[in-house]
Symmetry: C2
Subunit: 320 residues, 2 copies
């Protein structure tokens, strides 16, 4: 009997769903808009309804599934299957996800936070090659991540994987967390732009990036990387600085836990090999010699499917 | 039937042995000198003989033991129970520890490196309070450590726990590993002295530490900490600098894997609460807010018994 998994990737604008085989192959996928009105009280019922509706559509029964796994923003209590402080969903109060979704669908349910779930996805079916030792770093609006050691997600005392808040520059930029010099302040999409603005002020040479900033144009991390690829001197320096901090953080991750793979994903990683090679060069400058050989930096491979795939993998534990 | 464990802590000068209960209580202990002559070829036979001799002495049989666990210097292959590159034992070639010791004693055998084994000891019966999330940092001649997540030792791709080689100062002191600015170059016993010598050169005020260094006296990290406790201005600055780097490294360990406890041991940690409080203050400056609350820095509690206790715990896996 070939049972299936359901993966749910709950985000602030859409909820992505997928039905997967136990090997992690996506067989069906769909998505619905996230309705965050009324303190987000429609979200869980919408998830339940959408799953039940699609099971009807595909003529499938809950018994054909091992269970449902979900990634969510906010602070997750994995044991109890609850979440709170998910502000982009308007969830201020604690939500009993496990209780409501198990009751509503008749399937077992497991949950973790969205960054961890994406890490699990990349580890299982993406750049992590299903290795037991994978660290995932996602460069988006912020910098997040997830750490897998001995084949298991590291939650630590509850706040494991705060990779964006590794300090890379004492007395550096002020971070939203209140500290100064967190990786996120340099290597997130907004961080890259901040570095660009800062370096532009002291830059005197010829640069399109400088001109754009002086003209008050909106710039993005993509523009910075594109200009650097085209040889814009200022943009090259900005990218060098961002990659320096990323390489420094990756080296220290390597010296501590020596993952087989450090997988870099998220919007900023769209800069691809151009980014990876420069990060790797600083990684090799700072990492312990045997770590340089045994830890490989890679680009993420699953894009935004990492979420549903990793979420589904949470339900594998029910397959006994 | 109350079976026992044997723990062996193999060092460059002595080999420590202990017989423990399954709860980790030491019932007997003894030690022998390490004979590193003839490429260290006497070491394994000496271990076998010493164990067999003491079993005779206590009128015990191999069947009364779950197994033997050992910590050793060098690069350990845990699966195969071999070790190589243990230079302070004169072991250049690969040693088949598991094969020889199991054959010689009739008991099951497990091995890991000495820093990891000390971490397991402190986790099990020391400052780690048997928590599943413990990182151990040992400040000795070098700086080493071990990382435990989800209750398991993290080996990563083979070189996990190289805490001494976390970079804390880009372009800092040259390390034996070839990199610049590793934690070990500042926070090991020799590192503390190096910081003292360096800071003394630029120090103009009144200081006994300065006078000792100018007189060409031998100083130790203990002298530096003792003088700092007595209010010597230069020594205070040296300790502040060392604690800054330790706090920075601990904060970044915290943000990555959020251990419940970061346990600080080794010779330098004999400075006690005086050291810990200053490290903690920098830790709190650099750590992510929720990590400050959930990760606690503590001093090691087992002293040099951590090795035999942690080693013995390796054999617990045979207790089925």
């Amino acid at each position: 009997m070939n049972k299936k998994l359901i993966g749910v990737d709950l985000g602030g604008t859409t909820i992505k769903f997928a039905i997967l085989t136990l090997d992690g192959e996506i067989q069906q996928k769909w998505s619905v808009e996230t309705n965050i009105l009324d303190d987000g009280k429609h979200i869980v019922p919408d998830i339940v309804e959408s799953i039940n509706h699609h099971l009807d559509l595909y003529d499938m029964k809950p018994e054909q599934f091992v269970g449902i796994g979900m990634g969510t923003p906010g602070t997750v209590d994995i044991e109890n299957g609850t979440v709170e402080a998910a502000f982009n969903l308007n969830w201020k109060e604690k939500q009993n996800l496990k209780e409501e979704i198990e009751k509503g669908t008749g399937m077992k349910f497991a949950v973790d936070n969205d960054a961890n779930v994406a890490a699990l996805g990349e580890r299982w079916k993406g750049a992590g090659e299903n290795d037991d030792e994978v660290t995932f770093v996602t460069l988006g609006t912020g910098v997040g991540g997830g750490v897998i050691t001995n084949g298991e997600m590291v939650h630590g005392a509850g706040a494991g994987g705060e990779i964006g808040h590794i300090n890379v520059q004492p007395n550096g930029y002020l971070c939203t967390c209140g500290n100064h010099g967190c990786l996120e302040t340099y290597a997130s999409a907004t961080g890259v732009v901040r570095v660009a603005r800062d370096m532009a002020e002291e830059f005197a040479g010829k640069s399109d990036l400088k001109k754009m900033l002086d003209d008050g144009q909106d710039i993005s991390s993509k523009i910075v990387f594109d200009l650097a690829k085209d040889g814009d001197v200022l943009a090259e320096r900005v990218v060098d600085r961002v990659c320096y901090y990323l390489g420094f953080a990756c080296a220290n991750i390597g010296s501590l836990i020596n993952p087989s793979y450090i997988v870099i994903g998220g919007g900023v990683s769209a800069a691809g090999k151009f980014l990876l090679d420069q990060v790797d060069s600083y990684f090799k400058e700072f990492a312990f010699p045997s770590v340089k050989k045994s830890t490989t930096l890679k680009l993420a491979e699953l894009g935004n499917e990492a979420g549903v795939i990793g979420a589904a993998s949470l339900a594998l534990k029910f397959n006994k």
